[in-house]
Amino acid sequence: MAIKIALAGNPNSGKTTLFNGLTGSNQFVGNWPGVTVEKKEGKLKGHKDVVIMDLPGIYSLSPYTLEEVVARNYLITERPDVILNIVDGTNLERNLYLSTQLMELGIPVVMAINMMDIVEKNGDHIDINQLRKDLGCEIVEISALKGTGIMKAAEKAVSVATRNTSAPVHKFSPELENILEDIENMLDAAIPEEQKRFYAIKLFERDDKIAQTMKVVPKVEDMIKKAENALDDDSESIITNERYGYITSVIGKSYKRSARGQLSISDKIDRIVTNRILALPIFAVVMFIVYYVSVTTVGTIVTDWTNDVLFGEIIPPAIENILVSINCAAWLQSLILDGIVAGVGAVIGFVPQMLVLFVFLAFLEACGYMARVAFIMDRIFRKFGLSGKSFIPMLIGSGCGVPGVMASRTIENDRDRKMTIMTTTFIPCGAKLPIIALIAGAFFDGSAWVATSAYFVGVAAIVCSGIILKKTKMFAGEPAPFVMELPAYHMPTVTNVLRSMWERGWSFIKKAGTIILLSTIVLWFLMSFGWADGSFGMLEAEQLDNSILASVGSVIAPLFTPLGWGDWKMAVAAVTGLIAKENVVGTFGILFGFAEVAEDGAEIWGQLAGSMTGVAAYSFLIFNLLCAPCFAAIGAIKREMNSGKWTWFAIGYQTILAYAVSLCVYQIGTAITGGGFGIGTVVAVLVVIGFLYLLFHPYKESTKLTVNVKKTAKA
């Protein structure tokens, strides 16, 4: 019989480190059914029949956050054999709040107290034997970071599970105990004895979600009202206070604090890092170092190597030799070399640069600075309707939109999260940089303001979208108040940083292996086949004008004429940008008759510059920066939105915004540069006026709503 261990604990308690330590690479990662909360399952090292389920990090078992609901549904319905509760020893009081709730479930609990080494170093002391006696459960001291004691904790859990004894339960004050006992006696007999206390407490707290799962719900409202009057508090607060009261009494006996009131190292760092004056400059310096190293120095060196050497001199000739030696058909050679290797290679070339960036971000996250960044940025982001937590997805999104969108999970508030998902991909990701380089090089003498303005346009799109969307019915209301636990600063382990880097990088590599692979094949086919000389067949490179792609491009091209780039080549390039943004440059290269172009497309600058005006080129750039992201990022948006409707809304919004902005840039830009005043200019001016209205009109919906509420209240 397999034993199921559920791993439960507070966020930042070292739960993930413990889980990785117990299971090694033997993990299966997925989502909990119906929600975008990550579900991790693994087998205990050296025990094939022991399954460990990593529950989301939670502070309590109340029904108010998605994570809590997921965790407690699992515990109630799946009933694991034992709960391994990881507890942060430096923060015992708060952590025990969850522990006392876990013990009420009637499932054996083994407590693993983490960071005992730090507790000792602080000069504090936890009397484990006393704590064990008072809490009535097995306790093991561990250090998840160093890996000490973790196997002992797991083995203890296994032995407790096989013995199958329920955890004894703590007692509250006599008044409350009497009421709980009365409720327990009224419960349906179908509920097992050991779970009765949990149900009684939840009924007392008026927890609807639990009541809904019960076949028979006893009528307890009168009893609750009586108790509330007697104790002069609402029932939920009564339980909360009793719980903390109980914990304080337990800790009073077993926890010896030596240096009270003294500032810890983390506090001292916070004094400086989150200082009113220094916070933003320090943050700017940190970000500058991260980007300087990962984009310009180390990143460029490794990226150049993969692009020029690995995918330039090593792999293609090697594959070509093999294909020639086995007498491969010409069309298949073309497919493999020009289609797959060139297409996927272009994408893989970004991986090293991205991995360097992700190492930095993983380090900043693991050491605790990221949480402070959210705090520092909150004041600024609040001004346009986003929360400080939206900043982290956008930061990661500057590397790649896929992990960026995925990072939005940490935002609990549904509205804030949806808005972050919709706006994160406005920030130019690594794959959009080649487009910027191409346009800057071909039209603006490589001027630096093009790249700077691209980031500025991205940020402006986020700010304006925040303000506009907040005024719609869907997003109306204040952003959720910012409350976030800040973990203590600590040096992360190398394995943890690398693991986090790899998880993010892998989601990008997977995209290269699946969606991009498939789409490069399709694109290659559309480009290489067509009607020439009166029959359908494979084309020579110079017959591109006859390809299927050209026909498709000519159909959609008129759509983009008002934006200034109605040529089919531009239209096709923009469409291939959906597959992967860096494809835009490659597509131009192929369309202008070069088999291979440098990352910034230097070979085609001349031809490109001749085919449209500078204003049109800038409009093309803006459209590509803001419109729907690549397929992989759209996939990530779909996963995180968990709704097809919202995904379409997000993509639709992005594309319409991109179209409107590009239209204005081209039409008004052309008028200013002397291109004359026409119907297009009028439309553009109207769009600008409409945009300004959306930006500055008062919050109509919400005021109406409050007025109505007040009226009904009076009536």
């Binding site: 903390y244 705090f375 004041r379 204040e478």
Partner: protein
């Protein structure tokens, strides 16, 4: 009685009352913000505060900190 935003950095205060929306109040409770808990402000930034409560460090925006009375 004063809102937490007014408390001086480094000073220990006892929570008297927590106001605000039900949802946010519940979350604060599970983080250790209950009447009687001792809080001390570690750092303050335009009204946003970082406080120590029950041994953990929590960042709170000005809107929320204004509703915690000490």
């Amino acid at each position: 009685m004063m809102p937490l935003t007014m408390a001086k950095a480094g000073e220990e205060n006892t929570i008297i009352k927590i106001g605000g929306k039900e949802e946010a109040r519940r979350f604060l409770k599970s983080l250790g913000f209950v009447a009687g808990s001792i809080v001390s402000v570690v750092s303050e930034m335009n009204g946003n505060v970082i406080v120590n409560v029950k041994g953990s460090r929590v960042a709170i925006s000005r809107e929320m900190a204004n509703k915690i009375m000490v």
